[in-house]
């Protein structure tokens, strides 16, 4: 039996809006993933947790404007730790052009803006790690 997809989820830095990221974490669990929820964390601790938890995916949430500073830092720190295979996903409130820039030039695998159905997030994540959906 294949190992479950492991996701480390965090709110970036000081951002206080936990509703969305906590919901996504619950829906990922429902979809058969293993989720380690860090709460609020800074890039160093997030990258460290990804290493310790042997994560396949890092999920970041930001609704308060630190996405362009802190998210690229997470990607860079993961690379420094040799974790290029870890896919970084992101969700939150930001300008669409920022989402594009994060994906194109900062190594974020995919950014989900508001109104994204949970199913879209789940299927993108499974696809990104090239594994079939775990049947609970």
């Amino acid at each position: 039996m294949t190992r479950k997809v492991r996701v480390v989820m965090a709110k970036l830095g000081l951002d206080i809006h936990w509703r969305g990221v906590y919901l996504v974490a619950q829906f990922l669990k429902d979809a058969g993933m293993e989720v380690v929820f860090l709460g609020n964390q800074f890039p160093e601790q997030i990258a460290e947790a990804a290493l310790e938890e042997d994560a396949d995916i890092v999920g970041l949430s930001c609704l308060s404007g630190n996405h362009m500073t802190l998210a690229p830092k997470v990607v860079r720190l993961l690379r420094e730790k040799g974790l290029e295979r870890v896919k970084v996903f992101m969700g939150g409130v930001m300008a669409p052009e920022d989402a594009v820039e994060l994906e194109r030039t900062h190594g974020v695998h995919k950014v989900f803006l508001p109104d994204t159905p949970m199913e879209t997030i789940v299927s993108h994540m499974y696809e990104s790690v090239g594994r079939p959906r775990h049947q609970p």
Partner: protein, 566 residues
């Protein structure tokens, strides 16, 4: 002698209407229509019938349940002539970048007819960090203004007469409400504006610190609650026209509750505050007149109106019966309203103008005292000037064009609205009792119960969006094939960090470090005492102690608390 009753309908009429209604239901409707009864609910789960008649309000006693505006039980409004006498305050957001930028925005809004201002802060300020703190990285000037010291508040209100403007200082946490409004009061003092002339509100809600927002470093609920009460006590004694607390149902609702929970938790906090201040030797009428509330108006139009009316009724009953308040002002609940940010969609953002306007209308029909109408671009960023102007204009359209402000509580007597108001009041009271049974709100928070309630609501609500049961126009309901054309212009504030950092360097050079240290040590000593901390934080900000320095003392002295869900 039996008490005089003001029933609206006599028993005979009610009986005849009821049998007529039953007959109508059987004969006028198809079987399918009849079967649909029982499948409709308000957003908070109250069954909604196809038709309401006098039979649904047959027990209503006009004098007891409604009364007259400005009179007990205040269901119809808190002032006798409501908006004819005192138009609701148009209070739009102002806060982005550095305080100097916000000063421009405030002046812009005041020049266009705003009568009060809402000042917002960036997250480092909200959570009590200076702009040059490593934890502040990436957030300086985003979503609100950076405020580090008394000089920033001075810059924020440059050339604005503090004696003439009504200012809502959206501090969120008690730990910053004991510092930032203190900066404002100290600035007023420096400018020679007497404290008796200052009007405004600060938010100051321990639920904001412990439940609504998550953060790396949170003060424990009991400590946060103590600071909340310090703020209320000190301001009531010193700044007579200031509302020292705005029980924030709004953000709780945004974090994830229904309308009943929103109101009940806010009132539970007010009850806890009242008990603590009475324990400190104050009388209910010393502070209750200055307590204010903050509601979130969502899409369920009639339920939201009923919520506003019901919340006034519940508050009245508690103040009168439980606390024995005598001052009329203690008995009436005043509230600010903001339209619901969570209902805004990023898809087809212009649709948000319609959503927000309808929610704003509900707020006015519910008798709010002040209003913020959200801007269409808020699912992307804090509002741009153009979007903020449309919100302001929406308010003015309600005030000047719709005519709804000309008569008081125009929906009173609607069988549906009265029935819903009554049921909302009952459900709010029941939820309040549940919290009391747990030993009050501070305990309900410490145990993680409230967090679980929020989380359970969110999960259920999201499921209903995923299945399409909850409809979001343009998103899961009637999505367009081609996206609405809309350029979202987002504020950029990259230079704020540099500007704030330079100002902090300058401040640290110019102030007297020995005096700052002394002030901070006094605060540290007093944290462990039962003494009110406000005089000591004001003394510190006058000596140019920064927000972050004072907060650091709190974090060290009170310790940190782990968010109980994660």
């Amino acid at each position: 002698m039996a008490q005089k009753r003001d029933l609206l309908f006599n028993a005979e009429s009610v009986q005849s209407i009821e049998s007529g209604c039953n007959e109508w239901f059987r004969t006028a409707l198809s079987e399918a229509d009849r079967e649909a009864e029982g499948r409709y609910f308000s957003a908070s789960g109250i069954p909604v019938k196809l038709l309401y008649t006098p039979a649904d309000t047959q027990d209503m006693d006009y004098g007891r349940d409604l009364g007259f505006p400005g009179r007990e039980p205040f269901v119809r409004g808190v002032y006798p002539n409501m908006y004819r006498g005192r138009m609701f305050t148009v209070r739009q957001l102002a806060g982005l970048g550095a305080p100097e930028d916000c000063n421009q925005r405030i002046k812009y809004l005041l020049d266009h007819g705003a009568t009060g201002v809402n000042i917002l802060f960036d997250l480092p300020t909200i959570r009590g960090y200076d702009s040059d703190d490593p934890e502040a990285e990436g957030n300086v000037g985003a979503c609100g203004a950076a405020v580090d010291s008394i000089r920033d508040i001075d810059a924020y209100f440059k050339d604005i007469d503090l004696g003439k403007v009504s200012t809502s200082i959206v501090t969120h946490l008690p730990s910053t409400s004991i510092v930032i409004p203190g900066m404002y009061f100290a600035v007023a003092e420096e400018r020679g504006t007497p404290w008796t002339q200052l009007a405004g509100t600060c938010q100051n809600d321990f639920i904001m610190e412990t439940c609504v927002g998550s953060a790396p470093e949170i003060l424990p609920p009991a400590a946060s609650f103590r600071l909340q009460c310090d703020v209320v006590e000190w301001i009531c004694r010193n700044i007579p026209r200031w509302n020292p607390i705005s029980y924030n149902g709004y953000n709780l609702r945004e974090a994830g509750t229904d309308a009943v929970q929103e109101v009940a938790v806010a009132i539970a906090n007010a009850v806890a505050t009242a008990e603590e201040l009475i324990r400190r030797g104050m009388h209910i009428d010393d502070f209750a007149p200055r307590m204010s509330f903050f509601w979130d108006l969502h899409n369920d139009f009639f339920e939201e109106i009923a919520k506003c009316r019901a919340s006034r009724k519940v508050w009245y009953q508690i103040m009168k019966e439980r606390f024995g308040a005598r001052n009329q002002k203690s008995l009436l609940m005043r509230f600010h309203v903001q339209t619901a940010g969570v209902t805004l969609t990023a898809t087809e953002p212009f649709n948000n103008i319609a959503r927000s306007a309808i929610q704003g209308l509900a707020a006015v029909l519910g008798g709010c005292q002040s209003l913020h109408i959200d801007s269409y671009d808020e699912a992307y960023s804090a509002p741009t000037e153009q979007a903020a102007l449309i919100s302001l204009r929406s308010q003015q359209i309600i005030q000047a064009e719709t005519g709804v402000v000309n008569t008081v509580d125009p929906l009173a007597g609607s069988y549906f609205v009265e029935s819903l108001t009554d049921q909302m009041a009952q459900r709010i009271a029941a939820y309040l009792s549940k919290i009391e049974e747990m030993g009050g709100l501070v305990k309900a928070v410490e145990s993680g119960w409230l967090h679980r309630e929020i989380s359970a609501y969110n999960y259920k609500h999201q499921r209903s969006i995923e299945t399409g049961e909850t409809k979001l126009v343009g998103v899961n309901y009637q999505p367009a094939e081609t996206a609405q054309c809309c350029n979202i212009d987002v504020f950029r504030y990259p230079e704020t960090y540099t500007r704030q950092k330079a100002k902090l360097e300058c401040l640290r050079r110019e102030r007297n470090p020995r005096k700052v240290k002394e002030c901070l040590e006094v605060i540290r000593d007093k944290c462990g005492s039962g003494e009110n901390l406000y005089p000591y934080t004001i003394a510190a900000v006058k000596q140019l102690a920064t927000l972050g320095e004072i907060e650091e003392v709190f974090r060290e002295e009170f310790g940190l608390w782990a968010f109980p869900l994660f």
